[in-house]
Symmetry: C2
Subunit: 404 residues, 2 copies
C-alpha cells in the first residue's frame, strides 16, 4: 500500500480523496499497488467526514513522515504551495500538483529539484483540467517538431462567451450568471482578464519547446471590453469569439499571446462551448490534433491528479522524462511583432477606411450606424497601431482573427 498526502481539502483536494476512495480497486489494479491517503493538510477541520482523523494543520506532519511517498498539492496560489512543494521534493517525496499558478511561475526550478533528487513532479491537471494534454504532448507527439499550440484554456470565460453568443447576454449579465452557477469567483479577474489562460499557455509552451515561458512575458488581454456588437461582427466574419491562448514557434524563439480572437467556424475550436476546454497542437508530422474535455470541476480535475499519482507509483524507480529548462528574457518575441488579421471598429466619421487597401468591410443587420468595421490583411501589432495613429481614426475595438 502506497501512502500519500493531500495538501488542501478544497474542491480539487476533496475530489482527489473521493476518486481514490470510489475507484480504489480499479486504481490499485492500474497502479499495481493500493493507494491510501494518510494525511490531509487543511487549516479547517472536517469532523463529520469518515476520514476526519487524517487531517492535520501542520505540514511538518507530512514532510517528516517517511511513509508518505507522494505529496499531492491542490491548495492553489504561490505561497505556501511553492514552499511546501519544494520542501517535499527536497525530502524525497514525489509531487503531483493541479496548481497552474505554481507551475507557470516556478516549473523550471521545481523540475530541476525533482530531477536532482531523482523524483517525479507531475502536473497534468494544471492545464485543461481532466483533459489529457501534457502527457500526450510530451510522449505521444514526441516524434514531431511542434510548431504551434492554440487553445480555449479557461472554462469560465468560454461559458460567458457562449452565453453572449447564444443568449444575447452582455458581458455583465454573463458574468453574473457564471458567478451564480459557481463557475466564476466573486473576484473574477483571474478568469476574465486572461491570467488563468496565460498560466496555462505558459505551461504548454514550456513543455512543448523545452524552455520556460513566464506569465509576464506573454501579452495578455481578457474579455472585459467585448460587447454584443463584437460578437455580431465576428458572426459576419463566419467566426465566433473565443479567449485563445496561443504560442507559435518563430526560429529559435516563440510568439505567445492571450486574447479574445475570432475563430473561423471551419475550425474545430469554434464548436467548443460552455465550460469545455480544447487545445490544438500542430506538429510537423502529425498535422493538427485537438484535445477536448472538461477544463475544470472537482472530479475531472481530480481524475487528472489521480492519473499522475498512479503514474508516479509506477515510476518510483524509473523517473519520468518530463522536463524543461530555465527561460530567458529574449526568448519570447515582443507582442508588437505578432502578425494576424484584425477586425478594426472605428468611428464612421474618421475616414480610416479610405486609407486602407486590401481590407474587407464588415457589417451586419443592425450594426451601429455611427461606425465602420474592417477586417485587415495580416499585419503586425505595430503596423496596426501605426495605421490607427496615422489615419487619425478613433478605435472603438480591435479583435484579432485566429489565422491557422
Amino acid at each position: 500500500m502506497i501512502q500519500i498526502a493531500v495538501l488542501g481539502h478544497g474542491v480539487v483536494g476533496s475530489g482527489v480523496v473521493e476518486v481514490l476512495g470510489q475507484n480504489a480497486a480499479h486504481i490499485a489494479h492500474k497502479a499495481g499497488e493500493g493507494i491510501e491517503v494518510k494525511r490531509i493538510l487543511d487549516l479547517r477541520s472536517f469532523p463529520d467526514l469518515p476520514y476526519a482523523d487524517r487531517f492535520t494543520t501542520s505540514f511538518d506532519d507530512i514532510v517528516n513522515d517517511a511513509d508518505i511517498r507522494i505529496v499531492v498539492e491542490t491548495m492553489g496560489g504561490l505561497h505556501p504551495a511553492y514552499d511546501y512543494v519544494k520542501a517535499a521534493l527536497e525530502n524525497g517525496k514525489s509531487v503531483v500538483t493541479s496548481n497552474k499558478e505554481l507551475v507557470a511561475a516556478k516549473g523550471d526550478e521545481l523540475l530541476a529539484i525533482a530531477k536532482k533528487n531523482n523524483l517525479n513532479f507531475l502536473f497534468e491537471a494544471s492545464v485543461g483540467g481532466g483533459i489529457p494534454i501534457l502527457r500526450p504532448l510530451d510522449q505521444c507527439l514526441s516524434a514531431n517538431n511542434v510548431t504551434e499550440i492554440a487553445g480555449i484554456l479557461n472554462g469560465t470565460t468560454n461559458f460567458m462567451l457562449t452565453r453572449m453568443l447564444g443568449d444575447n447576454m452582455d458581458f455583465d449579465e454573463a458574468l453574473a450568471l457564471a458567478q451564480s452557477l459557481g463557475y466564476a469567483e466573486r473576484d473574477p479577474s483571474a478568469d476574465v482578464d486572461g491570467h488563468d489562460a496565460c498560466r496555462k499557455i505558459c505551461i504548454l509552451a514550456s513543455l512543448a519547446f523545452g524552455k520556460h515561458v513566464y506569465p509576464d512575458q506573454v501579452h495578455t488581454e481578457g474579455i472585459r471590453n467585448l460587447t454584443l456588437a463584437d460578437v455580431a461582427y465576428a458572426a459576419a466574419c463566419d467566426s465566433v469569439i473565443k479567449l485563445i491562448g496561443r504560442v507559435v514557434v518563430d526560429g529559435d524563439k516563440v510568439h505567445s499571446i492571450v486574447a479574445p480572437m475570432m475563430v473561423p467556424n471551419t475550425c474545430l475550436l469554434s464548436g467548443v462551448s460552455d465550460v469545455f476546454n480544447a487545445v490544438m497542437v500542430r506538429g510537423d508530422a502529425v498535422g493538427d490534433t485537438v484535445f477536448y474535455g472538461r477544463g475544470a470541476g472537482k472530479l475531472p480535475t481530480a481524475s487528472a491528479v489521480v492519473a499522475d499519482v498512479i503514474d508516479e507509483v509506477k515510476h518510483f524507480k524509473a523517473r519520468k522524462y518530463l522536463y524543461w529548462e530555465q527561460g530567458a528574457a529574449d526568448y519570447v518575441l515582443p507582442a508588437a511583432t505578432y502578425t494576424c488579421r484584425s477586425l478594426l471598429r472605428v468611428k464612421a466619421a474618421d475616414g480610416l477606411l479610405e486609407n486602407l487597401s486590401n481590407v474587407q468591410v464588415v457589417t451586419y443587420d443592425g450594426a451601429p450606424a455611427d461606425e465602420l468595421a474592417v477586417l485587415t490583411e495580416p499585419m503586425t501589432e505595430d503596423a496596426v497601431d501605426a495605421l490607427i495613429r496615422e489615419s487619425g481614426a478613433t478605435l472603438i475595438n480591435r479583435i484579432r482573427m485566429m489565422d491557422l
Copy 2:
C-alpha cells in the same frame, strides 16, 4: 545508438524512415539515445534511395540480428505480419506496429508473449493514425472507470460522408472522388463496409476494459446503402450522418457496434469533417473527452509509430503496463439488445405510422412523396425488427441515432 528494423516500406514504413531521419536530433533528445534503421524488409528493392543498402528480403536477417532491439511492423494484413511479430517477440525484440488488423485479431496473444518475455508491444498508430489515443486512454484516464467510447474511426468514409453532405454527391460519386484522391483503395470494402472501423473499436474496447473484443463479435454495417435522402432526413433531425464505432459498458459485459449513425449537431463529433478522425471517451470522473486529428496518412501515422519507438527505447528495462486479457464468447452482448432511437423510412402506403406511439414524424422540403419517415423512441434492435414485421411496413432504410 539504438538499432531498429522496419518491416514493409509502403506508405507508413517509408514515413517512419523519413521521420526518423528528418527529426533525428529532436528524437535522440527525446529518447535519450539516437535511433538508427539498420534493416528494412521489403520484397521490392529501392536502388535509388540513399539507404538502399539497408533493404533485405529475408526476415531471418532481422530476427537473427542481436543488434536489432526493436522491430517496427508496417506491412498490414494478418500474414506474414503475425508470424514475424510473434517471432520478433519470442527472440527478445520489442515491437511497434501500425497494423490494426493484426492487433484486433491477435492483440491478446501478442501482449501475453510480450509480457512473458518482458518486452514491449505498442501500437498507438493502429487507431486514429497520428492522434494520441491509446496511451491517454491507458494512462491519463487511468483514475476513471471508462463507461463508453464512440468515434469516427475511418477517414475515407468520413471524407465521403462530408462530400455527400456538403456537395450533394451520391455514394458512388463520393467513392470515385475518394479513390481519385488516393483516400480509398480500388477495392474499398475494408473502409466502406466498416471493417476498418470495427478493428479500431475492438482495439479501443480491449484496452479500455481489459478484455479482448474480437472483430467478429461486433455488429458491423458500412455506408454503402446511404443515400442523399438519408443525409437530408438527418439534417431535419438536426444531425449529420457519421460512420460511428461505439462500445458501451453494460454491467460486466459490453455492447459494441459499427454503423452509420445520426450524430446531433450539438455533439463535437458532428463537426469532424473530411479525412479527420475523432474519438470520444466517457469516464466516470472526467466526463467526456475527445481526441481529434488525422486518422491516416504517411506522416501522421509515422508520427505515432516513432513516438512508440521512442517510448520503447526509454523502457527497455521498465516494461510498459499496456495489457489486456483474452476475450470470451459471451462478453460482447448480442446486437439485438442494443438500444437507441432510430430513423425509420417506410413506404407511405404501408400505414406503419399509425401503429406507433411516441414517434416523431420527420420530413424535409423535397422529401420523397411516396414514403414516411419517423424517429422512434429508444428501442432495442429486436423491438424495431418486431415493429416493422408486425406493421407489415416495407422498410426503405433505417439509421440509428447516436444518443449519448
